[in-house]
């Protein structure tokens, strides 16, 4: 009998000592007290220290882009920390270049608030709002892609420019997880937005958005993205989209059809097979209405779709072949990183300067 008692006593004492030590350390060491957070030129706010900067900013309704749920793997949540951020973590280094490191740019999800901190957030990010919305229509585009029409309820309208994207909140416990999706509808309808979502096996965002049905509530933040359409009617626009990268192009072309139907514009779309091409009919309709709009497709999967009579190969090869060397144009690319890299290399060899090539990677 005494063996049991002794065992319980030993475990109890040890557990007690360890818990007491940890509790004491938690109170003494991990307690940073109230800290002030100064954002741009605003009045400093007081928050309880110890939290992550990204979460604190979210609580202050400042929606920094972030796609990995605070894991430090997407590198989107960059903010300039003027003072009080401590030293840069090795987890942040891969996402920061030399000039960003010198300016004190950090990943907001890695910075803990341990003292008074002053940060600088780009003005455009301060305009980003959180929206409550409902799915109003669901349409299947290809075997693994669906288009969602989302009706905004609170606030009821979103001011955005074509080519921008939103971040959809994936419901769940723990840290907030967002996934970024380009808006595929034109800004003219500001009460609803459309998103194109391709199902990625195991992907949290696409699985969630492939499960929602008409009437389901969705929370999203936006708009994000720095693409600004050159308003000059004569400036030629080259759009290159790979796979789901068609979404922002769909927004841009429809916007042009409404605002500048005569603007010269060439659209390149890459897909794996003919079945993966989205919006083909819509774009042919748009082409009839827009005199200076051209569209080219290329299939990257060599064996697929034997009935296909159009171009084959990677989309950058088609861009190389068809785009002429001429200065003063604007380009917008959307697709996987390898495509962006290949296409921007081709475009730069054709007198596009870096500041005229905009892109969205996914």
């Amino acid at each position: 009998m005494s063996v049991y008692i002794e065992a319980i006593v030993v475990l109890g004492i040890l557990g007690g000592v360890l818990s007491a030590l940890l509790a004491l350390a938690g109170r003494r060491l991990a307690n940073y007290g109230p800290c002030s957070v100064k954002i741009n030129e605003r009045e400093p706010i007081i928050v309880e220290g110890g939290g992550k900067l990204l979460e604190t900013l979210y609580d202050q309704s400042i929606f920094i882009p972030s796609a990995c749920g605070g894991q430090g793997t997407c590198g989107y949540c960059k903010v300039e920390v003027v003072s009080g951020g401590g030293t840069v973590f090795p987890t942040e280094i891969p996402f920061l270049n030399e000039s960003e490191l010198q300016r004190g740019v950090r990943l907001a999800c890695q910075v803990k608030i341990k003292q008074d901190i002053q940060i600088h957030v780009e003005e455009s990010l301060l305009k980003i709002k959180e929206f409550r919305a409902r799915v109003s229509r669901v349409r299947k585009l290809t075997h693994d892609t669906r288009e969602l029409e989302i009706k905004l309820s609170e606030p009821a309208t979103m001011e955005f420019t074509p080519g921008q994207y939103v971040q959809v909140l994936v419901p769940g416990k723990g840290e907030r997880i967002f996934r970024a999706y380009s808006i595929s509808s034109p800004p003219a309808n500001d009460n609803t937005i459309e998103l194109v979502v391709r199902l990625i096996p195991g992907g949290v965002g696409s699985t969630y958005l492939h499960r929602v049905e008409v009437g389901d509530e969705i929370t999203l933040t936006g708009p994000y993205g720095d693409f600004e359409l050159d308003e000059d009617k004569k400036t030629e626009l080259i759009c290159v989209g790979g796979g789901c990268g068609i979404a922002p192009m769909h927004s841009i072309i429809r916007h042009l059809q409404i605002t500048q139907p005569k603007k010269p514009c060439t659209l390149f779309l890459g897909a794996a097979t003919a079945d993966d091409i989205m919006y083909q009919e819509e774009f042919s309709e748009l082409k009839k209405k827009m005199s200076h709009f051209e569209i080219h497709y290329a299939l990257s999967d060599p064996g697929a779709s034997p009935e296909w009579e159009g171009e084959r190969g990677h989309i950058h090869e088609l861009v190389e072949k068809l785009v002429k060397d001429k200065p003063g144009r604007q380009a917008f690319l959307c697709g996987p990183p390898v495509m962006i890299e290949a296409v921007s290399r081709v475009l730069q060899s054709k007198s596009f300067t870096k500041d005229r090539i905009f892109y969205d990677e996914f």
């Binding site: 002794e6 030993v10 940890l22 350390a25 060491l29 090795p90 987890t91």
Partner: protein, 206 residues
Amino acid sequence: MDGSIIGGLAVVFLAAVITNNILLTRFLGMCSFIAISRSMRNAWYMGLAVVFVTVCTALINYAIYFGVLVEGAPLLQTDLTYLTFIIFIATIAAFVQLVEMVIERFSSRLYNALGIYLPLITVNCAILGVNLFMIEPDMDISLIQSTIYALGSGLGFLLAICLMAGLRSKLEAADVPAPLRGLGITMIITGLMAMAFMGFTGMVQQ
């Protein structure tokens, strides 16, 4: 200290680093070994963190085991060795938590280098393994020997993970068959390294 004692300690040390390498002969601590060995810098700091935690927890657990748990211990006569597992796990986890809090508070530079690996170590089986092997009856080791054993095992982990990081950086440029890329080839290499380390068996007479 006479020569034979130092010689004995050297044997314990070498055995722990090479012939009984905790990773390559016991296959403990594989998860962090695979996950952190992508870059040499990370592997190095992870290894250092393991060395530190292994040595410290070995000391603490040695004291608890021989002071309280073992039969006829100075503080408690009863045999409580069946509690070893749960107590060792608790002390290791608590110690790692404590160390993390301390260095986060006092040295942001050290925290930057080691701190992010500490949560991974909390449940690292290599460390629990070292603590448990240390108290095996046929080892029958003193406090100094067990410290040296823990140090050697930690350094063995450091050696193995750095070797792996070096090999994996070479692999980046290698033409690995598609189905084996990533985890597959890493497991194969680990197996080959383990076989190579088997070649050391017999080098150190225990």
